[in-house]
Symmetry: C2
Subunit: 281 residues, 2 copies
Amino acid sequence: MTTLRQLGEFGLIRQIQRQLRSRHIGDDCAVLPDGLLITCDPVIENIHYLPHTPPRQIGHKAMARNLSDIAAMAGQPTYAVVSLALRPTTTARWVHELYAGMTHIAGQFGCRIVGGDTAHVRHEQTITITLLGQAKRPILRTGAKPGHLIYVTGKLGGSFQSGKHLTFTPKIRQAQWLAKHCRPSAMLDISDGLANDLQRLAEASQVGLEIESHKIPKIGTLHAALTDGEDFELLFTIPAKLAAKLPRTYRPIGQVVRTPGIRLDGQPLHLHGYDHFQKRR
Amino acid sequence: MTTLRQLGEFGLIRQIQRQLRSRHIGDDCAVLPDGLLITCDPVIENIHYLPHTPPRQIGHKAMARNLSDIAAMAGQPTYAVVSLALRPTTTARWVHELYAGMTHIAGQFGCRIVGGDTAHVRHEQTITITLLGQAKRPILRTGAKPGHLIYVTGKLGGSFQSGKHLTFTPKIRQAQWLAKHCRPSAMLDISDGLANDLQRLAEASQVGLEIESHKIPKIGTLHAALTDGEDFELLFTIPAKLAAKLPRTYRPIGQVVRTPGIRLDGQPLHLHGYDHFQKRR
C-alpha cells in the first residue's frame, strides 16, 4: 500500500485531480462562474505555528495565508468562514485574540468573517479558513509562454526565522496593480519555497523555466530562498513587451522557455521546497 | 482565565458573535448577497468517526453533514472545497476511498468538489469541507412565531449506535419541498440532539416552545432522542393554517408560544445535547 509519505504532496494532489477529473484543481483558488473565487487553507499547531505563538499572530497568519491565495489570482477578497478545532483547555481570551488577528488583517482588505464552526480536539489545534473572492479576469498558473519574463514581488527565504510568516501582508494590492497595468500571463503565491512553486508554474503552463541565481531577491542564502516555505510573495510571468510598465524595483529572475524543466544558471534544478508528507519542518 | 470547557460551545459562539458584531453568525449557513449560502464543518477522528471506520463512509459523512446545513436553509448545494489534515502513514487508497464517498453523495445533489488543500498532522486526522449553495429565499432560524406548529422530518436518537451518522441522506429534497409548499417560518438541522436544537430555535426566534414527549418520533428512548447528536433530521415550524398541506406522515411535536423557555409535557426541559467543549462522546 502506497503511503502519503511515499506519494508526497504533489503526488497526492495529482491523484485527487485524476479522481475528480479536474485539471483546475491545483490553482491557488478554484474559479467558479461569475468570477467567484474560493480557497481554503488550514493552520495547524506545531506545523504552521508553535504552542507559545501569540494567538493574535496565529489569527493573522491563518487569514493572511488565504488572502495570499486570493492575491495570486489578482482577486478581491469578500467573505470568510472559520472552522476551529480547539482543546477544551484553551481559554476564551485566546480565542478572542485569535479572532482579533483574523478580523484586523481581513478588514484591511474589506473582507468579513460571516460564519464557521467549532469542535474539540485532544491534540493539534487547527484553524481552517475558507475565503471567497471576486475577480473579473482571474490570473491562472497556466498562461506562461516561451519568451515571457519571470518575476517575484519580494525577497525570499528565512520566513520562519525572521517571523515574517506570522506578520506578512498579503500582496493583494500589488496583484491588483499588476493585473491592471501589466496583465501577468501566470501568477501564484510562493508558499512552499521558490523551487516547488517554479515546478508548479512550469507544469501548469507546460513550459520550461530558466532562472539566474544572482537575480533572485533573497534574505539569506540561495538555498533558503529556493527551499524555505511561507514566503507569501508572488511569482508571475509577463510578456517581455509589457516589462517596461513595471516599476523599476522589479527585475526579472529568468525567462520562460519551450524546453521542459527548471534550469538554474543553466543546470537542472534538483532542489525541492516543502512537502507536507515527505519531511517535517 | 475562563477555558472553553467552562464556557461551553454555546458560550463560545456567543462570544464570537459579540466580537464580530454579527447576529447572523450561528445559523446553519451564512447568507451572502444574491442568495449565496456558505457553510463549513469538520469531521475529526475519534470524535466524528473512529480509526477503523471505512474511509468511504467518512467521506460520505463529511460531505453529508455540510449538505444537511444547506438543506436546513432550503438551499441547493453547488460547490465544495475540501481541506485534509492527514498523517503521512495514511495510504493513497484510503484517500481515494474518502473522495469516492464525498463525490458520490455530493453528485446525488448536483454538487461538485472544485478545490482544497492538504497538510500533515501527527495525531487526529481532520476533513473540513466548505460548501456553497444557493437559495432564493433561505429559511432562517429566526422566524418562528407564537401559534406556529413544530415538526421534525424523521426519527431521532441512537445515530451512533445504529451507524446512521455514517450513512444518512441529507434532507435536501424534503427541505426544498417544504419551502415550496408550506414555507416553514424557521428551520435548522438537528446535529447536537433535539434538546440543544430546540434551545437554538427558541433563542434565535425569541420565543418559547412547548413539546409533547409522546409525539417525538424516536428510535430508542426519549432521553436518546433529546440528547444524542448527529441525527441530521430537520426541525422546523410552520403557521398552523399551512399544516394541512403537509403529508400525513408529519405530526407536530408541539407548538411555539410567547413565554420564553422550552417545556416538555409542561415542565421546563433541563436536558442538554452534545457540547463539544463540556463533555466527550
